[in-house]
């Protein structure tokens, strides 16, 4: 465990991580949680969301999935359409009336709801109060498992080498990039290998990938090459934006290597079965 945080590849930790944001975690395991599935998972990777539900349920926690949920608002927010983002955010805030944790299987959507909602509603004191309270209840999936649910994983799979891709939002907005390492370290037969320039962005950036196609393409090619060169037989990530980018590029290159969402990886490694 001692080398867990410091055994990265030569180029992996060149960006010095910020000091972790101090966060108080509840001492009691909650009875119920909300899952905010995110729009990318909803439409593109629903099984990742379902597997997140199953992993949390197995912890003896009741999962609630508000059927009225949509997008968190991030695409419009980061494109400069602040008013549109604000109205979409307003529609999501209403969904979590009970005082339960809101678990989000995506670093960037969690970052949006935990941090940027405050900016959106800074001029509406009443909403801001709600948003501030909600912000304290927002947990990224891995963070929730590790520190709120205090999960103990029992590996049931064969030996495998995996490379971990952490999203920029997990790394720099949520400070949850090391949590996934800790979770994976609980799995006896899973060997995590480093890859070159691990802390560097995969080049997705939402609309960046279609507006700056050339630059984005160069970034994802470098990222996929680093992942291939790592010798891993599988890539794990906790963000479906990155997953769409990385897997889409692997497929285009006719590479066999694929990325999988953390929730699915954990579910399958610990005895869960796939529906597919």
């Amino acid at each position: 465990m001692s080398n867990l945080f410091y055994d990265a590849a030569p180029n992996a930790t060149r960006v010095a991580p910020s000091l972790p944001e101090p966060r108080q975690y509840p001492t009691e395991k909650p009875t119920d949680i909300y899952l905010f599935g995110t729009c990318v998972i909803d439409i593109m990777f629903p099984n990742a969301g379902l597997d997140a539900i199953r992993v949390i349920e197995r912890e003896g926690i009741k999962v609630h999935y508000p059927q009225d949920q949509g997008c968190c608002g991030q695409p419009a927010y980061s494109s400069g359409y602040t008013e549109e983002a604000k109205e979409v955010a307003r529609a999501q805030i209403k969904l979590f009336e009970h005082d339960w944790p809101v678990v989000i299987p995506s670093g960037s959507c969690a970052g949006m709801m935990r941090h940027h909602y405050k900016e959106l509603f800074k001029d509406e004191p009443e909403t801001l109060e709600k948003v501030n309270a909600l912000s304290e209840r927002i947990y990224e999936f891995g963070e929730f498992l590790l520190y709120v649910s205090k999960i103990q994983l029992k590996d049931q799979g064969p030996h495998t080498k995996i490379a971990l891709h952490t999203s920029c939002a997990a790394r720099r907005e949520m400070n949850t990039h090391l949590h996934v390492r800790e979770l994976l370290a609980q799995l006896d037969n899973v060997e995590r290998v480093n890859h070159d320039h691990e802390s560097e962005c995969c080049g997705f950036g939402g609309t960046f990938s279609v507006k700056m196609t050339d630059i984005s393409g160069a970034m994802v090619l470098d990222k996929t090459k680093a992942l291939k060169d790592s010798g891993a037989s599988q890539v794990v990530t906790a963000d479906c934006g990155c997953l769409m980018n990385i897997n889409g590029s692997f497929e285009k290159q006719n590479e066999a290597l694929r990325g999988q969402h953390l929730a699915t990886f954990l579910w399958l490694r610990t005895g869960g079965t796939s529906d597919e």
Binding site: T13, P66, C168, G203, S216
Partner: protein, 483 residues
């Protein structure tokens, strides 16, 4: 195409309207890609090694931020104080609202002294003025004396980095350049190359009529111009010629000398991983009656050039905290891949993306705010904690705001305004604020997944994106039951 030309990347147009084309060209240049990657890796490693204690680093950054924010909060007062103190000590202070005015001020000084030869230490503000070109037009030569600047001046290029202007070139490329332009024997030995350049420049310092420099910090309380450098050329250009003209943006003022301690430490360590530079110059007056050396005249030109626009907005004002260390560039995955010249602006990289719209207008820099994944690496390393990703997002907002909408905070607002795009986001908003509508939409998207339109820009780098067979909404309802 000569051997040397193959190793060059073309001089890009000074307007960033061609940003995408420039980026495309730069990405295709394998030599440039290789040079940039290895140079940035080395700079990142050096920075981290010099700031290895994360608690010290974070506290110092916090302090740096406070010092800069305090200086900006008193900016008009500090500038007046600076002017009063410098004037009292015999330094002549000039104010320029535009780059044209700044050039005129400099030309007038030159004409009064009948100057024909300028020698320059490094100054990014003089690049803003396009001063060399302006002086040349008036029959005056301005020779760069910073080794990197000298190299790119020889190659008719512009700096690709604010600290290391020729960082995009390898020793081999410089060797070929010197061989062609200086007719020296080819070598790629860095020490030999530097010696060659130094020998040529050494004589030029003595021949120059006027020395030009930038300013790292202008200290209001003592009336001092603070200048850090490694080559000694800054010291030479500010002391050897009979006239020294310093040029700086109005934001570079700090309150007192004590403030410079933390800022210098942050600057040199963030830039090159140095605890301190080889030379630290503090200039407070021209040569005094009993002194043997130093210039007879010292001038300071204070340039606005759009900085007051940034200053006027509380959020955008943070842009002016910048101490020009270049760390954001060194850590930027976009800059690393395309190099500084592709930006077509004086300041490249993340800081360039947030300062250039103020200097040039959004209409000439419309693509810069969107040329980022908002990965946050720049903000993470900024020594004075400028929230660069937040400012990029804010400029995106200004970029798509209707041009006629008030307040009109940024010149060229609405450069990327498009009715079609705006309508698309309105539709998106409606979908995501009406749950039934959203569910129907996502249901249709998954049911008719075979009909998903092919987004050409996406397909260039990826296989076609295809929705899943069922939405999570459906899977969750099936699994959890009606809630």
């Amino acid at each position: 195409m000569s051997n040397q030309d193959q190793h060059r990347i073309p001089v890009f147009d000074a307007l960033s309207q061609h940003f995408k084309e420039n980026a495309h060209q730069a990405l295709g240049n394998q030599q440039l890609r290789h040079n940039m990657r290895s140079a940035m890796d080395s700079l990142m490693t050096k920075r981290l090694a010099s700031m290895s204690d994360e608690y010290e680093r974070e506290h110092l950054r916090e302090l740096g931020n406070h010092i800069r924010a305090r200086a900006l909060s008193k900016l008009p007062d500090l500038l007046e104080k600076l002017e009063a103190n410098l004037t009292k000590q015999g330094v002549q202070v000039h104010w320029a609202e535009t780059t044209d005015q700044a050039n005129q001020i400099i030309l007038e000084i030159a004409q009064r002294r009948q100057a024909k030869h300028f020698i320059k230490g490094k100054s990014m503000v003089s690049e803003e003025l396009n001063m060399n070109h302006y002086l040349q037009h008036h029959g005056i030569e301005a020779l760069e004396s910073d080794m990197g600047e000298y190299i790119i001046q020889l190659d008719h290029e512009r700096p690709s980095h604010i600290i290391v202007p020729a960082i995009h070139k390898s020793a081999k490329q410089v060797g070929h350049l010197f061989e062609n332009k200086l007719h020296t024997q080819y070598t790629d030995d860095v020490d030999t190359l530097i010696q060659t350049g130094r020998k040529i420049l050494r004589q030029k310092f003595f021949e120059a009529d006027i020395g030009i420099s930038g300013v790292n910090f202008a200290v209001a309380e003592t009336g001092s111009l603070f200048l850090v450098e490694n080559e000694g050329n800054g010291r030479m250009s500010t002391t050897v010629p009979p006239v020294h003209i310093a040029i700086t943006g109005i934001e570079k003022v700090v309150e007192n000398l004590r403030d410079t301690v933390a800022l210098v430490s942050l600057l040199t360590r963030s830039a090159l991983g140095q605890a301190i530079t080889t030379y630290v110059n503090l200039i407070s007056s021209p040569r005094k009656a009993d002194e043997l050396d130093g210039p007879e005249e010292v001038h300071l030109v204070l340039l606005d050039n759009g900085r007051t626009q940034a200053f006027a907005d509380a959020q955008l004002r943070q842009t002016l905290n910048c101490i020009r260390c270049g760390a954001c560039m060194n850590h930027c995955p976009v800059y690393t891949r395309i190099g500084g010249q592709a930006y077509g602006t004086v300041y490249p990289g993340p800081i360039g993306k947030i300062i250039s719209p103020h200097l040039m207008g959004l209409d000439k820099t419309e693509d810069l705010p969107i040329a980022s994944t908002l990965c946050g690496a720049c903000g993470e390393v900024c020594p004075v904690k400028i929230p660069i990703p937040e400012l990029l997002r804010r400029l995106r907002e200004e970029d798509v705001r209707p041009p006629e909408e008030t307040p009109h905070t940024v010149k060229g607002q609405g450069a990327r305004f498009s009715r079609k795009e705006r309508l698309m986001w309105k539709v998106w908003k409606t979908l995501n604020t009406k749950p039934a509508l959203y569910r129907n939409f996502s249901l249709l998207a998954t049911r008719f997944r075979a009909l998903t339109p092919n987004i050409m820009a996406w397909s260039q780098n990826h296989s076609k994106a295809k929705p899943a067979k069922h939405t999570l909404h459906e899977l969750a309802r099936k699994h959890l039951g009606e809630q």
